[in-house]
Amino acid sequence: MFFLINKLVMNFDAPSPWGIYFQDSATPQMEGLNELHDNIMYYLVVILFAVGWILLSIVINYVSTKSPISHKYLNHGTLIELIWTITPAVILILIAFPSFKLLYLMDEVSDPSMSVLAEGHQWYWSYQYPDFLDSNDQFIEFDSYIVPESDLDEGGLRMLEVDNRVVLPELTHVRFIITAGDVIHSFAAPALGIKCDAYPGRLNQVSVFINREGVFYGQCSEICGILHSSMPIVIESVSLEKFLIWLKEQ
């Protein structure tokens, strides 16, 4: 019942059973990734059918029982070899340009309004908000552990729910600074279009601009030990007012 309500009423930005496409995008970079994927998919379908048809045609028309001498003319052809070398090269270049453009656009960390430090551990994430102090004049800091299946609320997502979510304001440039305390982890949230390796002793950064409210689920994406699957990431995007209320509660 609750599952149905979740499906119909609530918009979880989480994987869906048997899903084969992207989750709904929530950031400009994920929209860009979506667009790039669909563009490439278009070329891919055209190529798939063109190559598939010609393969089929060759198999049917040049089968040895049907045309015993035809291979005589098919040993070598400079022109056709030039064509089938240059055409794919041109297509690859056509794909590479928008791909590089998007890659460098996503790398840009443009003037963030706030930063969040995410640190991967075996096996949980810990977060720090270095721009805000709590009631004890300390940086806001917390650990984020998975909610085990036995403790899940009804409708909760198995292996995805955490006890403390990362709360962020919507429509704000946020920078994630990503590192790890022990082994390599990877901080990823598909709906936000971010995936960034977390290395011990190294700081990586990604920027997000979440353009709607929502709860975005992700998982550690670099195999990091036996409970690699049990350190999910939950990012809750709220309005600025709600974010300020949340800050005050810390």
Partner: protein, 68 residues
């Protein structure tokens, strides 16, 4: 040209490769563009339109809240 007097054992098959290639390429690319467009207009565009409509709705709700 002694061989000219001999009747050819096979009918000449020149031109078949080119004709077949053009025909096959046209069919292959034609099929490709049909299915490519089916994906683009049948799947991609509805998704983009739904997304844009959703954000338009959000924007209107936001504007209405700020107007009050």
């Amino acid at each position: 040209m002694a061989s000219a007097a001999v009747a050819p054992a096979f009918k000449p098959i020149t031109g078949m490769l080119r004709r077949g290639l053009i025909l096959d390429l046209s069919i292959g690319l034609g099929l490709g563009f049909v299915f490519g467009n089916a994906f683009w207009y049948g799947y991609h565009m509805p998704r983009v339109n739904a997304r844009d409509a959703y954000y338009r709705k959000l924007e209107e709700a936001r504007a209405a809240r700020q107007g009050n």
